[in-house]
């Protein structure tokens, strides 16, 4: 810092008084956000003293303030030609180049100043996904909710995954993992028949692969083919007795089939494996209610509401509790729960609209 200030002082001593006047006028204009004026002043400064690197830096910065990235690039590059040690110059030029789509050119500048967020974005844009991810994660530690960083981190992860899967499909097209990967894609596209076919091929090759039965079960569940879903989820719970999701999915499927008692056992098991999951507790409440155990149902839904007080699942729990109390003839409690339900729904039942 002291060294930079000294250098700047030395530099200022080398330029003419007239140039200093334009420098100060430019700075004043910038502080007042009169960027047009600042650009004009800095332009005069660079004309009067074409060897003054900071003059070009300031001109580039003024352009950047106006979002004129293309215009900023030339003076910033010139500033760095005059003085390659200008840290802000690298930072600004990196941003300007990235904004104009010259991601590869931006990377050395952003890298030099350790501008990890922008660097990560530039790396995503140039296909360097594995390099981008740690940079974006580091940047997110400083700015945890930055939507751009979150978006690019997600994109980097997705593209890295695609790159890896593409490699797998090219090298081992008939492997179980290749079939699984294709199946997952079909599932996302809701092409259930194709997804089923690919999962079955994968299972034929490697029947003991974790999650294959679970994923195939979800294909069947999505298609309302509940007995087939049950079979797959059962297979997964056998393969992975410690997998809470498999137990949850099996429990939920049994619930859809109206097998209350069995559903309850699986959901309780899932809750033991991974306690405090609102989804599990909500389904557990439904299974208990279906099993005519109102006290257990009430307990599960109340426990769920302790964990999650708002959101769609909480709203559902209030509605379920209202139904339970209504059946018991407890009007006061029914109304109380309906009030909570409607509060979470954002108003009256009139708001219960849904799109096809």
């Amino acid at each position: 810092m002291i060294r930079t200030a000294l250098l700047l002082l030395l530099a200022l001593q080398t330029i003419s008084p007239e140039a200093i006047q334009h420098l100060n006028a430019g700075r004043r204009a910038e502080s007042q956000q009169h960027f047009d004026v600042a650009v004009a002043e800095y332009r005069k400064l660079t004309e009067l003293d074409p060897a003054f690197a900071e003059g070009f830096l300031n001109l580039g910065q003024a352009f950047m303030e106006q979002h004129e990235y293309a215009a900023a690039i030339v003076p910033l590059k010139h500033a760095l030609e005059l003085d390659s040690s200008l840290t802000p110059g690298h930072q600004l030029l990196g941003y300007a180049l990235l904004a104009q789509g010259y991601a590869a050119e931006a990377i050395p500048h952003l890298s030099r100043v350790r501008e990890q967020g922008a660097l990560g974005i530039a790396q995503v844009e140039t296909g360097q996904f594995s390099e981008a991810i740690p940079n974006l994660q580091a940047a997110l530690q400083k700015r945890p909710n930055d939507p751009d960083l979150l978006y690019y981190l997600g994109r980097a992860g997705g593209l890295l995954s695609k790159q890896s899967i593409d490699g797998l499909l090219a090298a081992y097209p008939d492997s179980a993992r290749a079939h699984q990967s294709l199946a997952e894609n079909y599932f996302v596209l809701r092409q259930m028949a194709d997804a089923e076919k690919q999962y079955l091929s994968a299972l034929k090759l490697r029947p003991d692969t974790p999650n294959l039965h679970l994923e195939l079960g979800q294909v069947y569940a999505m298609s309302s083919r509940w007995p087939q879903a049950e079979e797959q989820f059962r297979a997964e719970t056998k393969l992975q007795p410690g997998n809470a999701e498999a137990a949850y999915r099996l429990g939920n499927t049994l619930l859809q089939e109206g097998k209350a008692h069995e559903a309850r056992a699986e959901l309780e098991h899932s809750n033991q494996l991974q306690p405090q999951m609102p989804e599990t507790l909500y389904a557990l409440g439904k299974a208990a209610a279906l099993d005519h155990d109102d006290a257990a149902a009430e307990k599960a839904w109340r426990q769920q509401l302790e964990i999650e007080k708002d959101g769609p699942l909480a709203s559902q729990a209030h509605f379920a509790l209202a139904g339970l109390y209504r059946k018991q003839g407890n009007t006061a409690k029914t109304e109380e729960q309906m009030r909570e339900f409607q509060k979470l729904q954002g108003g009256s039942s009139q708001n219960n609209e849904e799109h096809q």
């Binding site: 028949a193 298609s223 309302s224 083919r225 139904g323 059946k327 309906m338």
Partner: protein
Amino acid sequence: MLIAVASAVGTSLLEVKSPRGIDFVLQNSPTPQKYLIETMPGGVALLDYNNDGLLDIFLVNGGHIDSPMQTSENFNRHDPRYWNRLYRQNRDGTFTDVTAEAGLANAGDGNYGMGVAVGDYDNDGYPDLYVTSYGRNILYHNNGDGTFTDVTAKAGVAGGGWSVSAGFFDYDNDGKLDLFVTRYMEWDTKNSKDCGGNYHTYCPPGEFPRTTNILYHNRGDGTFEDVSERSGIAAKKGHGLGVAFADYNGDGLTDIYVANDGMQQYLFRNNGNGTFKEVGLEAGAGLNVDGGPLSGMGVVFQDYDNDGRPDVIVTTLPRQTYPVFHNEGNGTFSDQGLQTGVTMLSGVTSGWGVGLEDFDNDGQKDLFIAQGHVLDNVEKIDPSLHYLQPTLLALNHNGRFERANPGTAALVAGRGAAFGDLNNDGWIDVVTTVLGDHPQIFMNHSGTAHWLTITLHGTRSNRDGLGARVQVNGQTRFATTAGSYESANDKRLHFGLGSVKTAKVEVFWPSGSRQILKDVPADQFLEIRELERP
């Protein structure tokens, strides 16, 4: 995948037949503009219009739609291709098109047809027809000589806007049938739009303003009074499609259930003083089991578990499953979709016309649903869903519905469904409508189980006893021609008796009188006349 499910459940009670004489095609005229009316017709009614003892079939047609639609579209209803049709049943099971001679040709330019209601509003012993439309509704008075007269103007029941389902019932128990009409939304050509971006789909109802349903009170002089405001019915705007009637709380007054699309369902409790209170939410019959809205289309309001109380089943869109609102007996309902197995049967289907009828005469009402998605290009948006779908038949085994073979694996865009005994063999048949296609006529193979079919003849109550509660050997039916979707059922009350050869029959008439008949022999069509004096 769906075909496999449909065909994998053994031999069927039903068989789809094409009786000679029925050449109707439901002309919905789909356009690239995706006008929402195109996907919503059409109704079917089973009625004996000429009192010859045989059920006849009335089918509602849509109309021609220009592409793009004109701002004052006439739908070419004068063109015979777009007529509604009445088919008279002949003694040999064939049908004769009597539309023109009955005076039912040309349902009026500017009216795109939707549904039909049947009821003897003037108690003259002949069933009258009420046809709903996008446009103007028409009341056809049955002249008793094989012809009908359009009496809409005199009766004052033209409605207007977009009417869908309708039903006759006697809400004030004055012995004269009143009329309820559901209306879907505020929609017209000028304000039409399509949705789905590049896919161009029909828009969901939430894209258009809600509207009111209509209640007409029968003055008894051939005219009706619109009491929608006064009765409280108009206080609740919605996206009404199906309607069904029953007395859910046992107070002797008929209540109304309206299936609303994409929102809460409405249960209008009859207060007994000419007004209604909407209690769907507080009664637990307004939302699905998770508190979500429903795309309610068809509805049936009958007792599926023989506890004597009417339950409600609503047909909806995929991923919602069809709720089964079980009547708990204390004025409330609970969704028993999981317990009854209906949830399992309805995850990826869209239901429309629906009925709870005892197809195998075992004494338990079974479930029949006409199915097909709203969007004719739904596969483009979600390949796991399908526009054309199989018909659902589910047999009732002690309150749990199990999928059965409906008699066809055909995938169709099913809409209306009407239930009745077409060939008077004591076994329930069904007629469904299919968009752009011929109706499907499901004939019941019949079997060895016993049955009893009752025709009510009201004297102090309305002529057909609509609104009566009839109990036979522990089963209960509510006398109505309404329910399903846009359709009207055989007014006769059918009961399967299983192996039992006699029945105890109790009729609770809308007038308040009660009649008991003991040791009634099975396997007959029984007419019960209401006693003139209590």
